[in-house]
Symmetry: none
Subunit: 530 residues, 2 copies
């Protein structure tokens, strides 16, 4: 039988101590509901009283219903000198009306004596009194031993005595915290094993990622007998973050014999990760293990041809198990197989033009060498292949454009673009002003195209990136422009390279519009056929 | 005595297999020189023959000199059926003219029989022949055992036999590769220990991060006796990346008794990490352990006050040891000390210029909020402070400029800038053509200034960078331009921000020229005084 591990999520508390991570009370509720549906056991929602947002969350949570998870309020043991029932912090923990609470106390003797300026025995009394007070209010109590590993290294007996104080007072779980994130897996294993000989209630681990070992440390603790793991989705958290549950859960449940969440929810992992980065308004990390966009992306030519033969060769698990999927990237590292696979996905049968495949590969490699990057510009890639294989018809022709940027003594500058295009022998001549030269050109081209292709109004530009390629050449250098465009949730990328930023932008812009129009045309075909 | 570990960097080879990571041959050379100066032992530069860029790098590297590092060319063992001296891949490895080569071969019996369709014994022959061929050409040979851990799990005897084949043929090091990144630290320890009983040459580890264990697995291998570690700066690499050397090196050298690089270079780690993400044009990960901007950033109120009392409380090491620094993410007061600190670092005593330091601070913070970034633009920062405090005189005034970009049916575009500036009531009107609008403007401004300040010919632009700030606004977004200029080895950075790339470039350009002229003036003063 698999060992069951309690998963304690602190995305809403320790997660928000990470730089740039912030959630409204409503955000927190939406996240808590997703975590509950996913099968997380404990959801730490915040520190009631530390800020109004956390208070509000606990009010919302008290009215919501959760199928599986227990909501947890976080706080500290009572202040030195306070009676627990007079301690505002403990009172607020009770008032949060959660089934469980987590409270942290000191394990490091140095801090007890220096920071709190109380005796070792007084600190044990504070821990006992605080836990007992909360148990008397019928809470499940999770005791977080702050700085446990640092304290243990200095005085193991005292560090363990703090855990025993919590245990005696009725704590349900004690959690060993590597608060500074500086402990290594070998030390975690050794210390957890020692602690388990002396403590008779479940022991948990709370690790940070300051040595890039947040996941490894939690795994070492579990291997040594911890049955409760604290962490966050995407590893968000103070400084370098906390144990990343998106990696920990599959490591324990797919690769080892532990049970964290119901098996059938594993394939929701990727969606959960992206949902939470979306709510936090943080760009998802493409390289993130298991759930990142690149986690099953293959770029090297040899890897691709091998994966096409047998997926086990370069994939440690099937991407679908955690809801992710395989991608093949096209770049100058790619051999024939990348290009064939990619073309196949795009519905282009290269073998039909079999003499052409090597030529296409050569041409793409040449372009990449000039600075074109097709990984993020799949639409340009598709257009290029279609042009090379002769299955492409242009939607418009450029007759010419002129951009004027003027600045005078008054300081502000004015930008104007004029443009002439031809569609089926009909010439359209347009002008537009913009924020800058590319913006003006974009507006003029839209204006001109709209006359022939009114559907162009449905698409918009999402993202515009400029990268100077050979920077040493200063303002005379080559530039690469990447444009990301979208229509109703569908998005596509295009690329242009030139020593002139306007030319590079023009290439990426026209590819973007052309790709969109080709897609629209494809969608129309069935209707015409009727 | 500390155990010495050989660090093998593959940022330029496996790193570029990561999505969005691409370097020109010149980029690669600049990176290799930085890695060498940092104290890396081996620098794997690419796969000669796989693409033109890698070829070009080895040509550049052959002409450059490296103080410490050995440059390594990467490739595979020879193809089944080929004699080594007829194998194009092996020939190119020799022609790359590097002191060392790394070649990979198969360890997994399944792949030998299924993918290569040769016998187990034939595969051992290929390994032996390939290694021997390279040794006969006086190369140091590092043999990479691809899929070693997966192969070992299936057939340990055969996996080890492939290593012994390489050893017999004279390989200098064998490297155990966790190619798919699916192996856990416990398995790594166990397998490395077994291998070391049977192999008598140095053994290395090449780990990937697919389980977020790239660093932990390399550490487990070192703990079990490996003395050679492969990895990349910032963990760039195929899929989820490779062992991150920016975490591994301090973990081994600061927290354990291993020697990876000379101690005095450890404090260059943060700068090295940021340099490489800059060259790759990838936004640095703020949460990255050790070197990230948030790695020593304190947000929680309790943490901040504690850290201010005693840094050990929430910092696992002193940030200065690896060249990073502490940040406090709270109040406006901290903003004030940041800016005073920055000014002080630049040698500007703010209280000397104005009693109203707070006003300067407010204005600078406002600008930073709009996207100005003064870390890489200390010349603009200095100019701004001087302008605000009234100790600045302009060298020229802009009367106006006009830029015209024209493109017609023939395809190529033409860019022209005209410009009027005034110096001491004398107006200069100039025109110039350029590669793009900024290049043309730069040339026209130089032309005009040269008449009054001939010394302007001594300075040149080193580097020109564009970053779109609010990417979601597409081509109408704000952009930041950073310019790096130099004269006789002295360099300085300037910045401009605007929704118009021309305006932003103009700001950075004029700051750059003005700063240069002010420096020249300062240098002249002593002579005039004589």
């Amino acid at each position: 039988m698999n060992t069951s591990i309690n998963i304690f999520d602190t995305t809403l508390r320790d997660g928000t101590q990470g730089e740039k991570v912030a959630f409204s009370a409503e955000d927190k509720l939406r996240i808590a509901q997703q975590l509950d549906a996913f099968g997380i056991d404990y959801i730490e929602g915040g520190w009631p009283g530390s800020n109004p947002r956390d208070m509000e969350f606990f009010e919302l949570a008290a009215e919501a219903s959760f199928d599986h998870a227990r909501i947890v309020a976080f706080g500290s043991t009572c202040r030195a000198g306070n009676e627990p029932n007079e301690d505002r912090n403990l009172q607020l923990l009770v008032e949060a009306e959660t089934p469980a609470v987590s409270i942290f106390g000191k394990s490091w003797l140095l801090h007890v004596e220096k920071a709190l300026q109380i005796t070792a025995e007084q600190n044990l009394g504070i821990i006992r009194d605080s836990v007992r007070f909360l148990k008397n209010h019928n809470k499940e109590v999770i005791y977080d031993a702050e700085h446990f590993f640092d304290g243990y290294k200095e005085d193991p007996d005292y560090a363990v005595a703090t855990l025993k104080a919590a245990e005696e007072a009725g704590a349900d779980t004690v959690v060993l915290c590597d608060t500074n994130g500086g402990t290594l897996p070998g030390q975690v294993s050794e210390i957890v094993s020692e602690v388990l000989k002396q403590v008779n209630i479940p022991v948990g681990i709370h690790a940070h990622n300051d040595c890039e070992l947040g996941v490894a440390n939690a795994m070492a603790a579990v291997q040594s007998g911890c049955t409760h793991v604290q962490g966050t989705i995407n590893g968000y958290g103070e400084r370098c973050g906390n144990t990343n549950l998106c990696s920990l859960i599959p490591n324990l449940q797919i690769k080892q014999d532990y049970q964290c969440i119901p098996d059938q929810h594993l394939e929701e992992l990727t969606a959960l990760s992206r949902f939470i980065s979306e709510v936090a308004n943080l760009t998802p990390d493409i390289r993130q293990p298991y759930v990142g966009r690149s986690a099953f992306a293959h770029k090297g030519g040899i890897h691709v041809s091998a994966v096409m033969k047998n997926e086990e060769t370069y994939e440690h698990i099937q991407p679908g198990r955690i809801g992710n999927s395989r991608r093949v990237l096209v770049s100058d590292l790619s051999g024939r197989s990348n290009i064939s696979y990619k073309a196949e996905q795009l519905g282009i049968e290269l073998d039909k033009y079999s003499d052409n495949v090597s030529e296409i590969v050569r041409e793409l490699k040449d372009l990449e060498n000039k600075g074109y990057q097709f990984e993020a510009a799949e639409a340009s890639f598709e257009l290029l292949v279609k042009k090379m294989t002769g299955v492409w018809e242009e939607f418009f022709e450029l007759e010419g454009f002129r951009i004027i940027v003027e600045k005078n003594v008054s300081g502000s500058s004015r930008t104007e673009a004029t443009l002439r295009i031809k569609v089926n022998d009909q010439v359209e001549h347009c002008a537009a002003e913009g924020n800058g030269p590319v913006h003006a050109l974009d507006k003029a081209l839209r204006k001109a195209l709209r006359k022939f292709y009114p559907e162009i109004s449905n698409m918009h530009l999402n993202d515009y990136k400029v990268r100077v390629l050979n920077e040493k050449d200063g303002t005379g250098a080559d530039v690469r422009v990447l444009i990301d465009s979208a229509e109703h949730g569908q998005s596509w990328g295009t690329v242009g390279v030139s020593h002139n930023i306007i030319d590079a932008s023009w290439q990426a812009l026209t590819d973007s519009f052309s790709y969109f129009l080709a897609q629209e045309q494809k969608n129309l075909q069935p209707k015409e056929a009727i």
